[in-house]
């Protein structure tokens, strides 16, 4: 951990507890207000992901909503060339599941402050970012790269939300093709497995640890469990021994008492609320 200093001299990086370095961001050079980014090298024990190499990835907290991935990429390129930027709602391991889908079918991204993983091409860039003085802000919108705001941005988003029908049809078709192919492959795999379970010519069955044809459902599990409980209950004798009988009576009286207390409380409560005062 970097030792945190009590007083930060200007032109020095500001390090806060937790090992984060503070970078300030402002929208354009005239802005008065600033947002703070908190950066730190990406260090996770369990993850061994190829696209977040430990030595070259910078973990960034508190990325304001007006910073898109492109903007962030350009903004961080002042510390060295950036390979990729990934913005997410919550920190966590990256999951690359399923087939690639078109942006029209992805669920709408949440607005708000995000966390980001910036992957540089050189590991030296991380040090450069971390030593960036906190009182020299990064600027989002400059002469060179304009960031659209307000109505312009909304019009742009609105325009982007359109897609030509034919293109849409193409996307659907290609996805469904892929889906059918995957389905078929799966089926074939299952078939193969099923075949393997069959006896061969000599009467041998090959036993493997392969996955079952269809996973057990939780509901089915529950059902069997309940069946067993019911079975057990049926065997039990109720009110057979004297002590059992006495216990039941006791329980009944306790139940009545509880109910009586409840009702009493209900009336007391109403009275306390002056529910009986007509005017």
């Amino acid at each position: 951990m970097a030792p945190s200093k009590k007083k930060h001299a200007s032109n020095q990086a500001c390090v806060i507890p937790g090992g984060f370095t503070v970078l300030s961001v402002q929208f354009n050079s005239d802005s008065v207000a600033q947002h703070k980014l908190y950066v730190k090298e990406h260090k996770v024990r369990s993850e061994r992901s190829s696209h977040r190499p430990m030595d070259r990835t910078l973990f960034v907290l508190n990325i304001p909503p007006y910073c898109s991935e492109d903007v962030a990429k350009q903004m961080f390129s002042q510390f060295g060339s950036v390979q990729s930027v990934e913005l997410r709602d919550h920190p966590g391991s990256s999951q690359d599941s399923g087939p690639k889908i078109s942006k029209f079918f992805r669920p709408a991204a949440k607005q708000g402050f995000k966390v980001g993983y910036v992957v540089f091409e050189n590991s030296s860039s991380i040090a450069a970012a971390k030593s960036h003085p906190h009182n020299v802000p990064l600027v989002v919108c400059t002469e060179k790269r304009r960031v659209k705001t307000g109505t312009q941005k909304w019009i742009q988003q609105y325009t982007e939300s359109f897609i030509h029908t034919d293109n849409l049809q193409k996307i659907v078709d290609s996805f469904m093709e892929g889906y059918d192919k995957r389905k078929k492959e799966e089926e074939e795999k299952q078939k193969e497995e099923a075949e393997q379970q069959q006896e061969d010519e000599e009467g041998w069955v090959k036993v493997t640890r392969g996955t079952k044809a269809r996973p057990h459902s939780e509901a089915a599990n529950k059902k069997t469990l309940q069946k067993e409980i019911r079975k057990k209950k049926r065997k039990e004798l109720m009110n057979f021994y004297t002590w059992q009988h006495r216990n039941t009576q006791k329980e009944h009286i306790a139940e009545l008492r509880k109910k009586f207390e409840e009702d009493k409380q209900r009336i007391a409560l109403l009275r306390a609320q002056r529910k009986f005062k007509p005017y």
Binding site: T151, W154, T159, F162, F175, A219, A254, K258, E261
Partner: protein
């Protein structure tokens, strides 16, 4: 052992705290707490009871066992009874108060008995009175014969409710009868107001003497039930108790001083010659009878016998006093217990006495049963036709029932057989009483209604009860009405009170004119005037305006045609006489030629005001009351939801257009051929399709100059430099496809298949019907009749697929998640709600308008994020489905007022709001819902609404409002209601009902000003700007040849609000 001790401690703690509470309840200076504060009280939360083990399982004593058993069988059914007992404790006078009253009465009695004598003077000579005290009487005409002098009274007695034990809080009135000695009066004094004037002089003399005493607080005059012939002197104790009770001093003649037979309703006691001041050669035989004058003088003679009678009856029945108290509370909540012609506590006691005497109720009944039986009696007996009498064997001089009915509208004869106790009551007031009683009986029997609350706890002010209300502002105008209606002898009978003279005739006129349109006509009872002893008695016109309430019949009230009898029938003359020049001969489609009146009215909101046209026309024609004197409060609120420039409309017509267009689309969808799967259901899921959209979508035509053309997708997009284009509301339609094995079992694949359906459907609609369509992955937009319908294809197993997932052990688990819930909400619940509420609109024509007003208010007060459209519609639906103690709202205005009242007064913390849509819930369901609610209150939404489809979760209010926002909603609703009712009922106020639609902005820390050019819905603002912005549309009907993709659902404010909220506040209240 240790455990037991703590239990004992707990018990010990509980007892003192309870007794403390009772003390607090009885304390005289009870701090009044407003209702919303009550709801927010910290102690008012229900906590599940926790009893320790040792407490639950200790051996029971025999007594406890009995008690528990009894509770098990009785507690729930007698809950209402227990609540009433608690209520009685609230209204009963405490011992301390009684002591205070007794001691003050003693002082007053002593003082009055020492009033000094004065020399005898003429009645008209007022010089013996000091200038500080005036006579509480309107001396018209001035001349009176007779002598008067002050002497100490013959006796001073308590009369009325206090000695009877039926006096209740609040407004404690103690009646004190002061008997005028016989030598002041003369047996002939009954004639020509001589006795009433002497009575007033006697009170003035008492007042003059009492002003010098320091033991009396304030002194004011009033008159008994607004009857100017019977002034009373109001005394309050000095010091801080001055407002806690009032002593009414009545002056009475000595018992038996006048013969009761003189006051026969057919006899005359005011001579025309004296009253008009003109020499008239009429003999006494032809003088008109003066029944009202007679009964008011007779009323002075009888209070003591009445008290004796009532105490004799009351002493037999142990619950008599409690029964009267409950009846008084019931009457008071309905504003029937005060003013001229009221059904006061005295009449309530007399009614109970009648029921006891006629063995309709027995002496052993409880207060609960007394109330129930008397309401039942009132509901079933019409005293305007069949009067009742308490006289067991009236003497021969007593008038017969018919004679009473001839001169009075309502007849209830007292034990002496001479006095009609309901002499001043109008038939309308009695009908109102009957109506209230029968409504009460209806919901009393309904186990799903909180009977106690509706019966005795909910106030029913006229503005919240009647559908339409109108006021007669300038009461002086009634003087000319009396002339026009030729009511001189009646005026004389009422001693010049033209308001009460003309009232019954005006009511009869309106009743006749409105006929089938209304189910009930009510009027406010003019309050008893009160004035200080130093000022003259106020004039008759100096009372608040008379209010009339109409309860409309929804199916007939808005009809523009009044069809009369055929031209040749003898009744046609009568019809013409009633309607005057408005009546004309008309030929109808069935060939009949009849007299008819046609009222103006094109749109629904104009038609709703047909009763207003009738009332102004009739009053002008027959009673000489100009339109300017009538203040009609029936549609003042419609302004805020009004659209349409040529024909003003509150949205019914526009909604109908949308629904018709949708019906057509749905028919066409059903008939589509060439889809791979068939359609199983087409359902609307948008408020506009259930008539509840605040501003229903209007057909639009685009102005191309405001758009850029996007080439690749062939769409219109707004231009950057121009103002924001018009907002087009997409109307959501859900289209369920049939289930099939070909549907994939994968969420992404389903989504793609749905898209394929959207594309295919769009192609087919384009091909067969030539609609412009725009498919998207989530929906298909169809441009039809200038409206945009957003069709969403739904697959009924999709939510299930979304819930399924495979966990790490390879087990298929079903977990509820937000995505599945949202989908289910959009594709299942919303369409069902829409169709159900559409049905409700068919049943109650003003349902939609109430919803629109309610949502308008919620939106204007910035609550629409918290109380969603669906929630608001459900809240309004509950007003129609369970209106007790009211009847279903018959006008948007009254519905909106009740909506505000519901928001402001409902106890969300301890009660679920149950909306019984389609009447699907049984009684057992209600109990189940309530029990489930109680058991898991903490984990449920703050605002809990249960519907038949969904009894446990309250899905409509799951997301909001939060506790804080609900608290604010309650507060703002209470204030709005107060302000609005005041505005509507106060004729002096400048009319600006929009005040309740303007949110208070001073509470917010940040205000964001929007650029008016970029707000597409600016014209819908509560206070729209004057300059009209061109927003890229033509307000003409869409031309059929227009073909072009549209710009749908672009509303720049929404992203702004959403963005700000999500980025900076999190999912909390955004105060903008």
């Amino acid at each position: 052992m240790k455990n037991k001790q703590t239990v004992a401690d707990d018990a010990a703690e509980m007892i003192p705290s309870e007794s403390h509470e009772e003390q607090e309840n009885e304390a005289p200076s009870k701090a009044k707490r407003s209702k919303p504060e009550d709801a927010g009280g910290e102690e008012s939360v229900y906590h599940p009871v926790k009893l320790s083990r040792s407490d639950l399982y200790k051996p029971p004593s025999a007594e406890e066992l009995n008690q528990l058993k009894e509770a098990e069988s009785l507690f729930h059914c007698s809950l209402l009874k227990m609540q009433m007992e608690e209520l009685l404790k609230e209204v009963a006078l405490s011992e301390r108060k009684k002591q205070q009253i007794d001691s003050f009465i003693q002082t007053v009695t002593k003082l009055i008995q020492t009033v000094p004598e004065s020399p005898e003077v003429e009645v008209s000579d007022l010089s013996w009175l000091s200038s500080e005290v005036k006579v509480p009487f309107l001396l018209v005409p001035k001349a009176t014969k007779g002598k008067f002098h002050m002497v100490p009274p013959a006796s001073v007695d308590l009369i009325g409710s206090y000695p009877l034990g039926t006096c209740t809080k609040p407004r404690i009135r103690v009646d004190l009868a002061v008997t005028i000695p016989a030598d002041v009066l003369h047996p002939k004094d009954v004639v020509n107001q001589r006795y009433p004037r002497k009575r007033a002089l006697y009170l003035a003399g008492l007042a003059q003497y009492l002003t010098s005493s320091s033991e009396i607080g304030t002194m004011r005059y009033s008159c008994l039930h607004g009857n100017r012939l019977r002034p009373v002197l109001l005394l309050t104790p000095p010091g801080k108790d001055s407002s806690s009770f009032t002593v009414n001093v009545h002056a009475c003649p000595p018992p038996g001083f006048f013969k009761p037979s003189r006051f026969h309703p057919q006899k005359n006691n005011i001579r025309t010659e004296w009253y008009t001041g003109l020499q008239n050669s009429q003999s006494e035989g032809t003088e008109p009878p003066t029944p009202h004058y007679n009964s008011s003088v007779l009323g002075d003679l009888l209070p003591r016998p009445h008290l004796q009678f009532l105490s004799a009856v009351g002493s037999q029945c142990s619950a008599f006093a409690d029964g009267v108290a409950l009846l008084k509370v019931w009457l008071r909540q309905r504003e029937l217990d005060q003013g001229t012609g009221c059904f006061n506590g005295f009449l309530a006691s007399m009614l109970l006495a009648y029921l006891l005497n006629s063995r309709r109720i027995s002496n052993s009944m409880t207060a609960y049963q007394l109330l129930r039986n008397s309401l039942n009696f009132l509901a079933s007996t019409d005293l305007t036709v069949n009067g009742i009498s308490l006289a067991k064997d009236p003497d021969s001089s007593a008038p017969s029932m018919e004679e009473f009915h001839n001169v009075f509208q309502v007849v209830f004869v007292d034990p002496s057989g001479h006095l009609n106790m309901c002499a001043d009551m109008t038939a309308c007031t009695y009908k109102q009483l009957q109506h209230e009683a029968s409504v009460s009986m209806q919901f009393w029997d309904n186990p799903t209604v909180d009977g106690f609350h509706s019966l005795l706890m909910t106030p029913k002010p006229m503005i919240r009860t009647s559908d339409h209300v109108f006021q007669l502002c300038e009461l002086v105008k009634l003087q000319s009405s009396c002339k026009k209606l030729d009511l001189l002898s009646e005026l004389m009978d009422h001693s010049g009170n033209y308001v009460h003279t003309a009232l019954p005739f005006i009511l009869a006129l309106l009743q006749q004119g409105l006929g089938q349109r209304i189910s009930l006509l009510t009027h406010s009872l003019s309050p008893d005037p009160e004035w200080s002893v130093e000022s003259e008695a106020p004039k008759h016109k100096a009372q608040p305006p008379l209010c009339f309430g109409l309860l409309l019949k929804p199916e007939l009230a808005a009809s523009v045609l009044e069809r009369g009898p055929p031209a040749d029938s003898p009744k046609s003359a009568e019809f013409r006489q009633l309607w005057g020049s408005r009546s004309e001969l008309r030929r109808f489609q069935d060939g009949a030629i009849t007299e008819a009146v046609l009222w103006d009215g094109k749109s629904m909101c104009q038609k709703r005001l047909v009763p207003r046209q009738i009332i102004t026309h009739l009053l002008q024609l027959h009673a000489d009351i100009p339109e300017s004197a009538i203040r009609y409060v029936g549609a003042l609120l419609d302004d805020v939801i009004k659209t349409g420039s040529e024909v003003p409309s509150t949205g019914e017509e526009e909604s109908l257009l949308v629904v018709q267009s949708y019906d057509d689309l749905s028919r066409k969808l059903w008939r589509l051929e060439g889809l791979p799967l068939s359609i199983t259901a087409v359902q609307g899921a948008h408020p506009a399709l259930r008539y509840t959209q605040v501003f229903p979508p209007v057909p639009l035509k685009m102005d191309y100059s405001f758009f850029d053309k996007e080439k690749t997708s062939r769409s219109l997009v707004p231009k950057e430099g121009k103002p924001c284009p018009a907002y087009i509301t997409p109307i959501t339609v859900i289209c369920h496809m049939e289930g099939s094995g070909k549907w994939p079992h994968d969420r992404l694949a389903i989504r793609h298949i749905r898209t394929a359906f959207h594309i295919r459907m769009g192609e087919l609609l384009k091909k067969h019907h030539n609609y412009t369509c725009k498919p998207c992955p989530t929906h298909l937009d169809v441009w039809k009749d200038g409206l945009v319908f957003r069709i969403q294809v739904a697959y009924h197993r999709e939510p299930q697929v979304l819930r399924e997932s495979v966990n790490a052990e390879g087990l298929l688990v079903v977990r509820d998640n937000e995505e599945a819930q949202a989908l289910e909400m959009a594709t299942n619940h919303k369409p069902i709600l829409t169709s159900t509420l559409h049905g409700l609109q068919q049943e109650h024509p003003c349902f939609g308008a109430v919803c629109r007003l309610a949502k308008r208010w919620l939106g204007a007060q910035l609550f629409s994020e918290d109380i969603t459209e669906d929630t608001a519609d459900l809240l309004v639906a509950s007003l129609f489905l369970q209106p007790a103690p009211f009847t279903s709202p018959g006008s948007p205005q009254v519905g909106f007022l009740r909506f505000l009242h519901l928001l402001a007064s409902f106890d969300w913390r301890n009660n679920p709001l149950i909306v019984n849509l389609n009447n699907q819930l049984a009684v057992s369901d209600y109990t189940e819902i309530k029990n489930d609610f109680m058991a898991s209150r903490e984990s449920l939404p703050v605002m809990f609404i249960a519907t038949p489809k969904e009894m446990k979760q309250s899905m409509w209010t799951k997301k909001g409002p939060t506790v804080q926002m609900l608290q604010r909603v309650v507060m703002v609703a209470a204030e709005s209601l107060k302000l609005l009712e005041h505005q509507l009922m106060d004729s002096n106020q400048t009319q600006d009902v929009r005040v309740v639609m303007r949110p208070p902005l001073d509470a917010y820390d940040v205000l964001i000003q929007l650029n008016p050019k970029q707000v597409p819905l600016l014209v819908q603002a509560v206070d729209p700007p004057h300059c009209h912005l061109q927003q890229g549309r033509h307000r003409r009907q869409c031309s059929p040849d227009w073909r072009g993709p549209a710009c749908r659902g672009l509303q720049p404010c929404d992203p702004l609000l959403g963005r700000a909220q999500r980025s900076f506040w999190g999912p909390g209240p955004l105060l903008l």
